[in-house]
């Protein structure tokens, strides 16, 4: 396998605190509306009427967990595939980047990417996305999100090494099924994690649009 950088997301200890998201916003000067790293909350549950006690309910399999995700720098990146200008490209180390010289802002990648990662910057009329903090990588530093995590739930490294060390799970609900794009990620599932595409819960966070 050729070199591929990837993230490890430990959902089992992710508290959904969004320090990673804000650190990413700060590092990359993202104004509201753009989020290269996001945290999604998933869960389910119900309540059963107590057989004896009136107005008392017993929680029935109430659970929730969160997954932090950014660009998956996929092995089979649909954004690169559909980009008409080749602005979207995969670097030798597997990082998917945008050549802003070429991007025409057609937003086709936005329609295609199942992670909602390429996002349109209204100010410059071009797409933007997680670049793995390539400037920090070049200086030998870690991506901003990795160093931000207060639970130490985000790591990065050579994907093959991450997989041999941490397993091969690449998707849990509500992440899309992995075969769409082959994301370069290792997920440590939460104890309540559901299998992608076959979950019984729903995304709990409020959609911030109106």
């Amino acid at each position: 396998m050729r070199k591929q950088l990837g993230f490890h997301i430990n959902s089992s200890i992710c508290t959904g605190c969004k320090a990673c998201q804000i650190a990413c916003n700060d590092k990359n000067d993202l104004s509201v509306g753009l989020k290269w790293r996001k945290v999604v909350q998933y869960g389910s549950g119900s309540w059963l009427s107590h057989p004896v006690q009136p107005a008392v309910y017993t929680p029935n399999n109430v659970y929730a967990y969160t997954v932090s995700f950014a660009c998956m720098h996929c092995e089979n990146p649909i954004c690169v595939e559909v980009c008409p200008t080749t602005a979207m490209y995969k670097r030798d180390d597997g990082v998917v980047l945008i050549d802003a010289n070429k991007c025409i802002g057609c937003r086709y990648c936005e329609w295609a990417c199942p992670y909602g990662e390429p996002q349109f910057n209204e100010t410059v009329g071009k797409m933007t996305k997680c670049n793995f903090c390539e400037d920090l990588l070049a200086k030998g530093e870690n991506p901003a999100c990795v160093d931000a995590c207060v639970m130490r739930a985000i790591e990065f490294g050579d994907l093959a090494e991450l997989r041999s060390k941490l397993g091969t799970v690449t998707a849990v609900e509500p992440l899309p099924v992995a075969n769409l794009t082959k994301p370069s990620v290792v997920v440590t599932p939460h104890k309540h994690s559901q299998v992608s595409g076959r979950g019984t819960g729903r995304i709990l966070g409020l959609v911030q649009e109106a």
């Binding site: 996001k38 999604v40 995700f69 649909i78 690169v80 595939e81 559909v82 980009c83 008409p84 200008t85 080749t86 602005a87 070429k102 991007c103 025409i104 802002g105 057609c106 937003r107 086709y108 329609w111 295609a112 990417c113 199942p114 992670y115 909602g116 349109f120 910057n121 209204e122 410059v124 009329g125 071009k126 797409m127 509500p174 992440l175 899309p176 099924v177 769409l180 595409g197 995304i203």
Partner: protein, 306 residues
Amino acid sequence: MNIREWALIAFTILAQMSVGSFIVLGIVHFFAARKAGSEESDRLSDRALLAIGPTLLLGLAASLLHLGNPFNAYLAVSNLGSSWLSWEVLSGVLFAAVGGVFALMQWRKFASFAIRNIIAVVAAAVGLVLVYSMSNVYMLRTQPAWNTVLTPISFYTTTLLLGVLAMGAAFVANYAYVQLKNPGCADVQCVLLRDALRWFAITSIVLLGVELVVVPLQIANVAAGTTYAAQASAELYGQNGLLLGVRLALVFLGAGILGVFIYQNALSAGHEKVMGALAYAAFALVLVSEVLGRFLFYATHARIGL
């Protein structure tokens, strides 16, 4: 719905109407020439042909509006290897170019009839490729509402339906002009016009039938989908039910009921005025319906994932 999506609606509708018109015009021209000679045939269709060019250019211009950086639009043909969008842009430009060349040659009667015919056939073929590319642009594996053979079917249906009705309207307008400028040949033109509109009416009724099958299948497709995205699409169809109803009513009225009336009026001479009014009305109703249909196409899609 924002400017970007209106731009896409305008582009796809206008481009498909152009392709459809061009093809319909070619077929009509072929049969008219056999029946009444190339001069009368040209007289029937040349002015309509010239209307296609601006329509297409308008569509292409609209497509630029959805770009964040339209000045680099030429780069969009760089990824023919894997991007259908590149194919769409390329075939759109080629269709405009070859069609434009043909129109110019036809208008000025450059080169022989046969050579012009070959170029027309090439342009029509490129037009069909354009509609095919357009369909494939939407057939993304992450877009369950679009990723179905129903997308190209509906696109081709729109292409032909708007093609015949646009040309119907154009022919009626052309006939009025010919009556005014060249009353000597009005009788021949009248026959040709009535022949064409009869066939247009039949075609549009058939295409209406296709649409009445395809639209429910599109809904059934997402309703039967297992992904959240498909379910979300189905829900969006539900939320847009009223619009969907209006869209279907309009196309039924325009292509169906008015189609029947057009056909009846086209059977015998003397009803040209009514027939003409009906042709305009049918085109207008179906155009609105198709715009609504395309609006729904964009409003009801939902991507797999986050």
